[in-house]
Symmetry: C2
Subunit: 471 residues, 2 copies
């Protein structure tokens, strides 16, 4: 058995927490560990270390780091998609990298599950059905007439497999009235987007029902072991299609395991509030990073503070999500419209859609403290043993002040080791490199000065992470 964890979503409905370069699955939204890490931890009793994460190329290093944090060697366990092609190609690509009769437990990484034991029992049951060649879905017991999910019409019990049933058909997101009828009927379940299926059977069914997808995946087979990045042009040639549409809705060997594990797709702030523990007034209030939240009266609020003081007075049913560079205040029952905010900001060219004020990189991270017209101040964190590329800038000078750890600085022909309180000046056009030779984190405050401060003013002379010059 192998867990194939899908971590390619962009999660715009949870903006400004979730952003394109750091989508919700990598964030600790419901607990101290990220949703991806929780997904990995949840399935490990069944699969051990046999976990593969399929994610976007830009976030591959995040997936690798989070696997490492869960104690799993990430080598060859991250399949980076050069471009997103929806779920059928992602799962097919992972199937190509597996021994043919492996049962793949295909799990989105951005969901919350309360009853992990019930969930694992269902996975184990599904794996037995999948081993016999069935494509198995998980049908979540509805508890409300939800119009945001697709439904599964469950059919007859599958002989020999306790609890499993045939899928009679998949149905699209219903209107309110239909959803109420489904709920009353009892024979409908939510389509959770989780599957158990044998690698060879999935590829067979793709060949039968989506032969163009199957054919386009074939040249990607040499890259499906995760050892080398898949070429962008090959991946771009794969049709964009969901696994439901490509296979599940067309195959006649699809089964469903009904399950009620306290599942949430965390598809909105309303859903997120639903899985977090409220206080005595019915408000969910979290304050991180030295922030403080004061809620005066009101109930059913979700207040997430991060490093600042947030005060809410006389509000109910309101979502307040505060981040260092962007704030959302939203009526809770309008949570779905957050994506419209993202569209508006995208059209206005605001950078707060793409990334956070803290930007993660393979070597660590940086946080923009201030961007002025002719200066920029950043705090740079370098992981132990890592180093940035050897680089130079055409239009800016930089000053580095070490505030924590030890910096090894290459500047032209010199190599300097600097401790807290020590500083170094890098001139324009001067080749330089910042390295953390120590065992603790290195933190440096960088002050840039110049007439152009864009991230693209960088000439890379050498890089440990294979990034090309100028990129």
């Amino acid at each position: 058995m192998r867990a194939v964890i899908l971590a390619g979503g962009s999660g715009t409905r949870l903006w400004p927490l979730s952003r394109r370069s750091m989508p919700k699955q990598f964030l600790p939204l419901a607990g101290e560990r990220s949703l991806l890490r929780q997904t990995v931890a949840r399935v490990r009793p069944l699969v051990g270390d046999d976990v593969v994460v399929v994610t976007a190329a830009d976030t591959g290093f995040l997936a690798a780091r989070q696997l490492e944090e869960e104690g799993i060697d990430p080598a060859d366990r991250v399949l980076a998609e050069p471009v997103g092609r929806n779920t059928a190609p992602a799962i097919g690509f992972a199937a190509l990298g597996a021994v043919p009769d492996t049962v793949l437990l295909v799990l989105p990484s951005d969901h919350a599950i309360r009853d992990e034991d019930a969930f694992r029992r269902a996975l184990a049951a599904a794996a037995r059905v999948a081993a016999a060649g069935w494509l198995v879905t998980f049908g979540i017991q509805p508890d409300r007439p939800e119009t945001g999910y697709g439904y599964i019409r469950m059919g007859d019990p599958l002989p020999g497999y306790d609890g499993a049933r045939r899928v009679e058909r998949f149905v699209e997101k219903p209107d309110r009235e239909t959803a109420e009828a489904y709920l009353a009927d009892g024979g409908y379940a939510w389509n959770s987007g989780m599957f158990a299926l044998r690698a060879d059977r999935l590829l067979e069914e793709l060949g039968a029902h989506a032969p163009d997808v199957r054919a386009a995946l074939e040249p990607l087979a040499p890259y499906a072991d995760g050892a080398r990045p898949a070429p962008r042009d090959l991946y771009e040639a794969v049709p964009k299609i969901s696994i439901d549409y490509a296979v599940m809705e067309r195959s006649d060997r699809v089964a469903v395991i009904p399950v009620d594990p306290g599942w949430s797709d965390l598809g909105s702030f309303d859903a997120l509030a639903g899985v977090l523990e409220p206080d005595g007034d019915g408000n969910v209030v979290r304050a991180g990073q030295g922030g403080e939240a004061v809620v005066l009266e009101g109930t059913d609020n979700l207040v997430l503070a991060d490093g600042r003081v947030v005060a809410a007075v006389g509000l109910s049913g309101t979502v307040i999500v505060d981040t260092p560079d962007a704030l959302l205040v939203c009526a809770r029952d309008r949570s779905q419209d957050v994506r419209r905010v993202v569209e508006r900001l995208e059209a206005a060219g605001r950078p707060e859609v793409a990334g956070h004020r803290t930007v993660h990189r393979p070597w660590g991270s940086y946080t923009v403290l201030e961007l002025g017209e002719r200066h920029q101040v950043k705090r740079i964190t370098v992981l132990p043993g890592r180093r940035l590329s050897l680089q130079r800038h055409r239009r800016r000078a930089e000053q580095w002040v070490v505030v924590r750890g030890t910096a090894r600085v290459t500047r032209g022909d010199e190599v300097l080791d600097l401790g807290p309180g020590q500083s170094v000046a890098i001139a324009r056009e001067q080749a330089h490199r910042l390295e953390n030779p120590g065992a603790e984190l290195l933190e440096v405050v960088e002050v840039q000065t110049g007439d152009y401060l864009g991230e693209d003013d960088i000439v890379r002379l050498q890089d440990d992470f294979g990034r090309v010059p100028g990129a």
Copy 2:
């Protein structure tokens, strides 16, 4: 005639815009100029440069700077109170500094007035009545049954003074029912806290009705010309009492000029929203400092963004006030409860009550960009020709990087001139000084490192602004 402008309020109901070290009268809340500057500009057609501002000692330099920005030489025009004692001592202190028969136009600095011509006509009329020895108040025509203001019961017309009436009595803030009766009656006006009175008459009436106040003010007379700061112990000895309670409600020579100048005391965010221009959806939306506000649907909102992205979705009647370090989200009809938030934060010891992230000083300002455990990053702005004190720190080192203008740096026995991109390191215990010798602003990024970073780790060796060593 002299304008005596009262600028001692703390304005906590407009937190987080208004803070103790930078209260609302110094902020550009309703226009491009601060409320204080607007108050000064409004009265100058009547008094020319004869303006005196009474304010707290800590904000005296702000009052002086804003007078200067209005083209008035601030020398001897700022009366700094070492401690707040309410309005009777503030006005009495100013009266001691005036030629006895001067008519003082006493004006709070934190109000908005729409119809300035009507206002000035009322002031001129009041000044004529005051010159004859009356204490004159301004009665604002009520347009709603407001329970937040005191009222004036207007009596008979004052013979010989067109439009002026005797005050029959002052009444405390009424309950709703009483306020409605006042409104229906038509003989009641709001007590606006503005007065016209002769300096000698005010001191006489204080002597008659509040002799303890009058006596305690006497030793302050030598300081009432504004040339030297008043000693704290003398000012502390003055009883804390309002001018209404000390004199107006007790004197029998009090007149009222009814006026309807579109007056607002800006006493809450609801009131502030009322004087700002709404957009087509009935929302007041302002985004400064590179911020952006997106309001999706909803009406009657007040959204003030400052440097960040603020998105509001599906809200109505909501106040969102975003500042760099603190956020308020408040039901508009609960605006009065903002002071309770301030109390809560004060009890929690949060610094966001006392000051902004940008702190103003006589020499310029500084902005805290980041405060870490062992480092702090600030941007320091020094006004042309000004300099900070010559100082040293026991527990922190500092690195300065010039990002704009020219810095003259004293470091031990050296004096260095530095331009943009140049930097200098100051060791612990090393005497140093930062000066702007140029004609444009100087901006420096300061990186502090050390095991203690408090503002009180400062030994002042010399200071242009009379600040004592260590303070």
